[in-house]
Amino acid sequence: MEPIIRVENISRTFQAGNGQVEAVKNISFSIEKGEIFGIIGLSGAGKSTLVRCLNLLERPNEGSIFIDGKDMMNLSQAELRRERQDIGMIFQHFNLLMQRNVIDNICFPLEIAGVSRNDAKKRAEELLEIVGLSEKAKAYPAQLSGGQKQRVAIARVLANNPKILLCDEATSALDPQTTKSILKLVKEINRDYGITVIVITHEMAVIQEICSRVAVLDHGSMVEEGTVEELFRAPKTEEAKKLILNEFRHIKEMRSERMIRVTFGGSSAFEPFIGNAVLEYKTPLNILYANTKTINGNAEGEMILQLPESQEIADRMIEYFKENNLGVEEVDHYVG
């Protein structure tokens, strides 16, 4: 089956002063219908440019983009505008019309699509119901909290029944609690309406919360791509490791000579592998950090362990964990 999004060798270069900035370098990927695909990278990695290439808010200098089989680069202006109605986009700063109230904000894309005033109003009221803000219909954006504004933006984006939803750092301006509720809403939309979602973020937590597949972007290039579990268990590139280990910065006070990050799936959680290792090598191990996460509905655990001073025993412990099918990598370069 044709993927809903197929991107082939796109590049986007900007003229900056005397030089050129390659924001997106020769990127290719495909997204299947109904997926929640994450694109993660640090700021300046080219995420925002890449996502804007998908609806041609940024026109790639090279390459091609196919949405639902349609060659986006060869559409006329009018065709492109029609196509954009099927590709919704939500933003970090919500981008609501400040001079319009909530219901009229949601009516806006319907006005663009030429829907009659009455039908638009009716549809907007339904959508407000879906995002749980019916009582705020007459409020203005300035009277809403960040989370509420993003809910209005989501209602607005759903108005024209899009096939694709692009989320550009949609939760980056929100607190963790609100982030969770917005991600939950996005997940429901994906499930209930079969909308394909592309999530742009710099936070691994967001990816782990809702994405099935993820691509890592670094300096305009896609350096790694795979399932979220793969990236969590065995990040291959330096960039991916940095992003995953970002959340351990706070344990740098406890840093020691040699540390490893161990990851384990649901089944290995029953094995007392730390205890076994200690018993086997008669040397204590220190747990600096431990956590379990739900990734795509599966429990995944991770630990940061401080290895014994003896190099030999440390190496043997790493071997032991690897034999037991745990994900193991040394992290002392990344923490702190």
Binding site: N55, L57, Q77, L80, R81, R82, E83, R84, Q85, I87, G88, M89, F91, H93, N95, L96, L97, M98, Q99, R100, N101, F108, P109, E111, I112, A113, Y140, P141, A142, Q143, A153, N160, L166
Partner: protein, 220 residues
């Protein structure tokens, strides 16, 4: 001093001043608003960048704005004569007032429209909005508070210009002030016209500001 003849003359002058100011503002916007829109839209950062159109219009606006109003009054007399049939009186003054106001209004409209949040414009583009829709429903609608403040400033400025036109027999309060205060040394009548001018400016400014605040939904 303030007999019926003078009072009638002052009332007539006030009406003439308001007539010149408001009609010139209206005409100023008829020409200036599209100019401002084109400037904002064709700017490098605008929604339809076009270097050539922008530069030409930018040059014309700058050129017209650099001519002092008093000189412009005299310069455009042939145009005034062709359009109105005479070069003195309130109606004739509307011609140079409009020509002076349009580029200045264009600049104010341009800067108001450029204040609109780029993200909101981008959101509209992502929904498939065309240029005309963005101008009408995003730029002008979102900038309405700033545009109304602009109207208030324009009215105040044109009001001041209209008084200056008194020098060449432009009619209105400025004309009265110059004739009585300057040529006939009747400074008391000039003083009364000044008071009327000040009160009128205050009322116009107050109304404009009140309206723009009332229509602003950005702060609650």
């Amino acid at each position: 001093m303030l007999d019926k003849v003078i009072i009638d003359m002052l009332i007539e002058g006030t009406v003439a001043t308001l007539y010149m100011t408001l009609v010139s503002t209206l005409f100023g916007y008829i020409f200036g608003l599209p100019m401002g829109i084109v400037l904002a839209v064709t700017d490098q950062e605008g929604i339809k960048p076009n270097g050539i159109i922008y530069k030409i219009l930018d040059f014309i606006v700058n050129l017209m704005r650099s001519i002092p109003f008093l000189i412009l009054l005299i310069l455009v007399m042939p145009v005034t004569k062709a359009l109105v049939g005479k070069t003195y009186g309130s109606t004739a003054t509307i011609v140079p007032l409009t020509i002076a106001a349009a580029p200045f209004i264009g600049r104010m409209v341009e800067s108001s429209l450029k204040e609109v949040d780029k993200g909101v414009i981008e959101a509209a583009q992502s929904m498939g909005a065309g240029t005309f829709t963005i101008i009408w429903k995003v730029l002008l609608a979102e900038a309405r508070t700033s545009l109304l403040v602009g109207v208030t400033i324009a009215v105040g400025t044109i009001f001041g210009y209209s008084a200056m036109a008194g020098v060449i027999g432009g009619g209105g309060l400025g004309d009265i002030a110059i004739r009585y205060g300057y040529y006939r040394y009747e400074s008391d009548i000039m003083f009364v016209t000044i008071v009327i001018l000040v009160v009128l400016v205050q009322i116009l400014q107050g109304l404009g500001m009140m309206l723009s605040k009332k229509l602003d939904r950005r702060h609650m």
